[in-house]
Symmetry: none
Subunit: 245 residues, 2 copies
């Protein structure tokens, strides 16, 4: 891959300076930005392979920016924060960040995370115009992210409800890795604003998973695509490929 272009978003000039310099010394093109406007200018203006986004941006909220970016663009994001508390970390993942790193951090660690995220997303990153590619295919099924419709291997259209559609999107965004019910729940609420941490209330996720299974599993009683990871949660496509076209 070409030299990665990394957008460094932090309102503290010193920190910005330090990070951009370090990244440049390690073979990246670092683009500094102090606020959301500068972020947009860079992203709209040219290729950006990764965003390092500070959670605290003065009056703006990094999490919000992250959420918006995620909704509109498909650029990898690593959240950076002085707060290492777990709930912050969870918040980061909830809004769609690819990774999370706490300040102060070891430069080596930062580099490792950056490399990891870049190598993970390189495939999709290389598909430059992936903005329009909203059809996912897995195990003979296809899912049109725009219309929210699913086509079975037998080419039969299946309609998903809104909730089911969202769940499928979340799963497609995280194939192969087990997701806890909490993670799923957090990611399900992509509509409204920051939701008050979906509690461990009921069994909504379980039931929702069951409903989705009834529509996208050939044999819902013996799930092959959306499997249960007992004591953990659910895994999507643990042993089938997911492609995006």
């Amino acid at each position: 891959m070409a030299i990665p272009r990394i957008l460094v978003v932090d309102d503290d000039p010193d920190m910005r300076q330090m990070m951009t310099q370090f990244l440049r010394q390690n073979g990246s093109i670092a683009l500094p930005a102090a606020n959301e406007v500068e972020v947009r200018n860079h992203i709209d203006g040219g290729r950006v392979d990764l965003v390092l986004l500070d959670v605290m941006l003065g009056d703006e909220n990094g999490l919000e920016i992250c959420k918006r970016l995620r909704r509109e663009q498909d650029v990898p994001i690593i959240m950076v924060s002085a707060l290492s508390a777990d709930h912050q970390r969870m918040d980061g993942y909830a809004v769609g960040a690819d990774d999370y790193i706490a300040k102060p951090f070891n430069p080596e660690l930062l580099l490792a995370r950056v490399k990891a995220v870049l190598s993970r997303t390189r495939r999709s990153a290389s598909l430059v115009h992936r903005r329009n590619t909203n059809t996912f295919t897995f195990a003979g099924w296809s899912f049109d992210a725009k219309s929210g419709e699913v086509q079975s291997p037998a080419k039969i259209q299946v309609a998903l409800s809104r909730r089911e559609t969202t769940l499928l999107q979340v799963l497609l965004a995280n194939p192969h890795i087990p997701l806890t019910r909490e993670e799923i729940a957090a990611n399900l609420d992509i509509t409204g604003e920051a939701q008050p941490q979906t509690e461990t209330t009921g069994r909504a996720i379980d039931v929702l998973v069951g409903r989705l299974r009834n529509k996208i599993e050939t044999n819902p009683k013996d799930p092959q695509i959306l499997k249960t990871e007992r004591g953990v949660g659910y895994v999507f496509a643990s042993d089938v490929d997911v492609t995006e076209t």
Copy 2:
């Protein structure tokens, strides 16, 4: 992908212990090895997704081992060393290592590197030949590590529970050699949560072994595949072949 199987090669027992434990807590199957012979036994005996190889191995030379492994196998290797000097790092890459990490290292960093290398090679593995096919065969039985299903010599499908599947994976990873209950238990807890060191409390392993025997032994009362080593533990396939296709 299935749970990654990581071979930890270090001649210092403490370091080995520390690393294997840490990796297990983070969702891997960790296989300890102290020297080249043990490395070969593991690699020849079963699937290994990644090798963490110490550069200094007492009288042996990690770099040499790395070079040989590279020539013969196609397994990803991360070199580990107390020497962080650049020329060492370069040497590591020169002999074909996929990455290099200096001791003492931050556990987080280790994990990041491991994940990065795994995710990097996972893709190519799927592109290239399916070298990591996950079907094991022994004594007429076959086990699909992905679906976790077992087929009897009479071609009858047998479903294993999660725990049984994991046990079988652990056994398949260490055929022919006796495993103590503690070793089995340690490798069984790959849930990802930090488990309070499985005590010698109950007889969970015994019961689990019994259950697995009921499913994969023609005559569970007279085990031929999963034998008891009185006073020690259990041996898998002590006198049958295990092949991987």
